[in-house]
């Protein structure tokens, strides 16, 4: 590492504007640091200017009203787990935040880092955000912008590295959600596959709104549109999750050293079943 002038190697701006101004070609944004610090293990250089966001106060903030849950991008997994605990429709996010990684990582790793980690296919929070139809507030060089989670992901994390994800907005909505993940061990590692589901029912217990997101299967998490279409209009039951078997051809699962693609695909219907069972339990508790 270059140690010629350490002041220029680690910047601590206290405003988003100052952080944006510091973002040169050789700079990297640092939130919790848990992804950036592992760059050498991925064969990437860490010899870049670190722009730490931790001094920007409002990026740690959490608030909610009848319209949105507003989360600063620096909210940690622990903070996320705590603030969503009593918000019934946020179950997927609460589970994803409290089940991922391990306690020491959950106290450090951030929501924004989970979204913006380049080349990280197994994020747990991102499928939950997709299922909950989140929007992102992004500060760009030309001003603030609000984008839907799907649009943001399609355009690639960081979208060129010249902007900063500052706030995650999650609409308050009537319904329940859950997250399920498959691991090779019981806990403490990245998921082979994960599923987040949001279900909204009408008065007759029929599925009116359904969003199902799948992560870790492909390079980027995505909606399971075929399954959603098949489920919409059906009475809600855990048996409805069986429909997942009929729509596996929407995915091109990735092979990697931890699991082959065929295995990731095989566990998927079971994960949908788990998520539906959790939602059913929560509905009973809330009834």
């Amino acid at each position: 590492m270059n140690t010629a002038n350490t002041d220029d190697l680690f910047l601590r701006p206290v405003s988003v504007e100052a952080a944006l101004a510091a973002l040169g070609d050789q700079a990297v944004l640092v939130a919790g640091g848990t992804w950036v610090m592992r760059a050498p293990l991925r064969g990437e250089s860490i010899d870049r200017v670190f722009v730490s966001l931790s001094g920007i106060a409002h990026m740690h903030a959490i608030s909610h009203d009848t319209e949105f849950l507003r989360l600063g991008a620096l909210v940690t997994h622990d903070g996320l787990g705590a603030c969503t605990r009593n918000l019934p429709e946020m179950g997927a996010l609460m589970q994803a935040a409290t089940m991922s990684a391990n306690p020491a990582i959950r106290s450090t790793a951030t929501l924004g880092g989970n979204i913006c980690a380049v080349g990280f296919p197994a994020a747990d929070l991102v499928p939950a955000l997709i299922a909950l139809d989140a929007r992102f507030e992004v500060q760009t060089q030309t001003g603030p912008e609000t984008v839907n989670v799907a649009t943001y992901l399609q355009s690639g994390a960081y979208r060129g590295g010249k902007e900063i994800l500052t706030t995650i907005l999650i609409p308050r909505q009537t319904g329940r959600s859950a997250h399920a993940r498959a691991l090779l061990r019981k806990a403490g590692e990245y998921p082979v596959a994960n599923v987040s589901a949001f279900i909204g029912l009408n008065a007759d217990n029929v599925i009116e709104t359904v969003r199902i997101a799948v992560g870790a299967l492909e390079a980027t998490p995505k909606r399971w549109h075929g399954l959603e279409t098949a489920l919409k209009g059906l009475p809600f039951s855990t048996a409805a999750a069986e429909k997942a078997h009929d729509h596996l051809d929407e995915f091109a699962p990735r092979d990697s050293t931890d699991a082959p693609g065929w295995y990731r695909l095989r566990v998927l219907p079971g994960l949908v079943g788990q998520a539906f069972a959790t939602i059913a339990d929560h509905m009973l508790e809330g009834a």
Binding site: L9, F10, V30, G33, M37, I46, N102, P103, I105, A187
Partner: protein
Amino acid sequence: MPVTFTLNGQQRQFSGDPRASLLDALRRDFRLTGTKDVCGEGFCGACLVYIDGVPKVSCLLPIGALEGSKVTTIEGVGARETLTPVQQAFEDFDVVQCGMCFPGMVLTVTHFLQTNPRPSRDDVKSALVGNICRCTGYERIIDAVMSLHNSAEGPE
């Protein structure tokens, strides 16, 4: 400008590359080798320290982010002459094998028992999910923790 922080109760400064991990700084610059360098990616917990009282893995913390923080390593837990209740229980139950995971285990368990003084066996397993014992001595580790939960004295 050096990074200034409190290390085991003493104010210290670090003048090297602020992008270096706290783990490297502790071992190479401050000679606190109780913090172990094992997986380097946050999975094993051998490099665990407290930052402002919260357990974190030092391998993934750039030291530049620690300006003004209070860092506690295994060397700063308890008094030098006596073992803490967690350390004593680990010794009593003869659970230490190679020893690489134990500084992290002690810190995790100590913090966990402060907020969960009467845990179940499953609670202890969940708390230790980020501390890997390559010697696989988990059951005796959990026995030792449960002995503290059952004791009248409890953890400090």
